[in-house]
Amino acid sequence: MPRIQLLDASTAPMTAESYFAGGDPGPIVAALANVPELLGPTLGFIGAALGPGATTTRHKEFAILRTSALLGCRYCIHAHTTVALDVGLADVEVRALRGEMALEEAFTEPSEVALIRWIDAMAGATGPLPDDVWTAARGFWADHLLVELSATIGATMFLNRFATGFELPTSAGVLERLEHEGFDTGMAADTAGAS
């Protein structure tokens, strides 16, 4: 059960009406609608940070799924496991990003290994990034891509804490899909940082 009221079309503020016009907008919007003036700016930022950009969809999903696993967000891990599969990540890659198997078993491309280590340092640690992590990432990835991905990571961290703190529910459709694909739907990958 969510810890706060999730609003629907009949209970949502009139200033949030447009977000419910197309049907159930999902628990994040349903929760945010409790403060309707946050919807526009928050969803605008999330859309820009998680949506299409200069970075490929594949690598954006690296950032989103890996960050969610590092922060132990069940809701976001569930949702982005399906998104990652849909955009073409292999089953083993998804499992590795979720922290369920070693990264080196799934990723061999040096640029991608460097990127995941950089994501781990951005989302899963405190303080400055280790020089070797930064140097390795910077060797493959341009400044503007790392800036864009840092926004993806930041927006994901917000969503991770929002969804986890308020215990937002995963939709039945997503759970069915994950079970069908053989993924754990429990509290997956809260030890991702140690993998």
């Binding site: 609003l7 209970t11 949502a12 503020p13 009139m14 200033t15 609608a33 403060v35 309707p36 003036e37």
Partner: protein
């Protein structure tokens, strides 16, 4: 009105009649009564959820700057707050204020508490629903009729402008209300200061299936400030089964007042005309 206010979109909308000029403030939600049709389920046990005096003063000041033309203070029972008269007096230095009350807290020497509001920019609006004590008291509580009948002339004697508001489940121009109109006039209240309005089916009235059904556009779009945020209309921040209705919530942000005022103005732009005038909702 300042030059800034004349140029503001809010002031323009008020001048054109698109936006009502009054800003309402819900001082608190608790009340010494528990009326059957109460929009906010107010009672002695209600959570207070009160506005701070500093917030009320800031709303008054910014309302004037934005071009609003009047203020309204309601609750709950506002006079349960000991600082209310002094705060309203200060608000009245910015804009005219009407304060709604059940007038049951003015017995004996406590009348002087209400008498502090003898000011040309302030009126006190008191609820009275019937000329029959038992009928009035059935909805509003024991001895309510007697306390109102006692308080009204005493306030008028002390220079307070008193308005009477009658809330009815029947027709607004029913002949059955004539004795009440006579009673109110006999208390010294001018006919124009006696409002008759319907029960709006929201809050406790909705739970009891009382009053007229009204959609958002049927409710006067007066900006309404509460401790829970800013709402469309003074009938907006209703409570049902202990939970605040959010359907008429504009913003949780109340200050600066331009935030909810602009949200309200933005909604008005795309909304067809309502039926509030025909329903008599005010």
């Amino acid at each position: 009105m300042t030059d800034v206010a004349i140029e503001s979109p809010i002031a323009q909308a008020i001048a054109e009649g698109t936006l009502p000029g009054r800003v309402w403030l819900y001082t608190n939600y608790h009340c010494n009564l528990a009326c059957s049709y109460c929009l906010t389920e107010s009672s002695p046990r209600s959570e207070r959820r009160q506005l701070e005096p500093s917030t009320m003063l800031a709303v008054a000041e910014q309302a004037k700057e934005l071009g609003f033309t009047a203020l309204g203070v309601t609750g709950g029972e506002p006079f349960l707050l000991p600082w209310l008269p002094e705060t309203v007096l200060e608000m009245a230095s910015h804009l005219p204020v009407v304060v709604l009350t059940n007038a049951t807290l003015f017995g004996g020497n406590r009348i002087e508490h209400g008498a502090l509001l003898a000011h040309p920019n302030i009126s006190v609006q008191i609820s009275l629903d019937s000329d029959q004590p038992d009928v009035n008291d059935m909805a509003r509580g024991p001895d309510n009729f007697a306390k109102v009948i006692e308080a009204v002339p005493r306030l008028i004697d002390r220079g307070v402008r008193v308005r009477i508001a009658t809330t009815t489940g029947g027709s607004l121009d029913a002949p059955e209300l004539d004795p009440l109109r006579d009673l109110v006039a006999g208390l010294g209240v001018a006919p124009d200061d006696h409002l008759v309005r319907p029960i709006v089916r929201r809050g406790r009235a909705d739970e009891m299936a009382l009053g007229v059904r009204a959609q958002a556009r049927d409710i006067p779009s007066e900006l309404t400030i509460t401790a829970d945020g800013a709402f469309w209309g003074s009938f907006g921040p209703t409570v049902r089964a202990g939970r605040l209705d959010l359907d008429l919530l504009l913003t949780r942000t109340v200050l600066p007042l331009s935030v909810p005022a602009n949200a309200l103005l933005g909604l008005l732009g795309g909304m067809p005309e309502g039926n509030d005038a025909n329903l008599g909702i005010r």
